[in-house]
Symmetry: C2
Subunit: 113 residues, 2 copies
């Protein structure tokens, strides 16, 4: 919890990294969930709960370093939000098309609505 939580600048976003980050089912679901507006979410809420913390942490790191999400420390937890505008500005339509194509699984919190 001491490291700076690095985020790439908008202009440094790489399409390959974005696609790679979204190529994993769990990461895609996290992004889908964040984009669905039930966010910002901390790590344990945004990720499927049965997945080990270390794995979650790894996936959030990939998403963060690809520039897909913005992570902020808020006390003991990390609040994540999607960098939708920046990604759309850099790669117009990519995220939207992918999110529409992603089959709408349930968000971790969606069943409580």
């Amino acid at each position: 919890m001491q490291r700076p939580l690095l985020h790439p600048a908008s202009e440094d976003l790489k399409l390959e990294s974005v696609l790679y980050a979204l190529a994993d089912p769990m990461r895609l679901e996290i992004v889908r969930c964040l984009a669905a507006g039930d966010c910002p979410l901390n790590c344990s809420k945004a990720a499927p709960s049965h997945v080990p913390k270390s794995t979650q942490s790894h996936h959030f790191q990939i998403l963060r370093e690809a520039g897909l999400i913005q992570s902020e420390r808020r006390g003991t937890e990390v609040v994540n939000s999607i960098r939708l505008d920046e990604i759309n500005a850099r790669f117009p339509g990519v995220i939207d098309a992918i999110l529409k194509a992603a089959k709408p699984l349930v968000c971790p919190d969606a069943d409580k609505a």
Copy 2:
């Protein structure tokens, strides 16, 4: 050259596999090149020539099994074409947005035009 060259059916295409296949710079370039209309192309023409054949073969296998390309044996070579319509039907806008976002590098044959 004896194996059947398996292609998934349109309805079996998985978004994650498509994104994964496109997350590699060389594979993205191959797809971009095929989509640019100078196709169909055999493997050695569609891929950067300095890459070893075994690596090329591996990448084409990934693209084929993700359902991005259609490969047909024509004598001694394999002719590849992009399955644009099927992918668009299944994941509308995804490929188009990605191809537009991909920076237009030169096709291997483009400089001869």
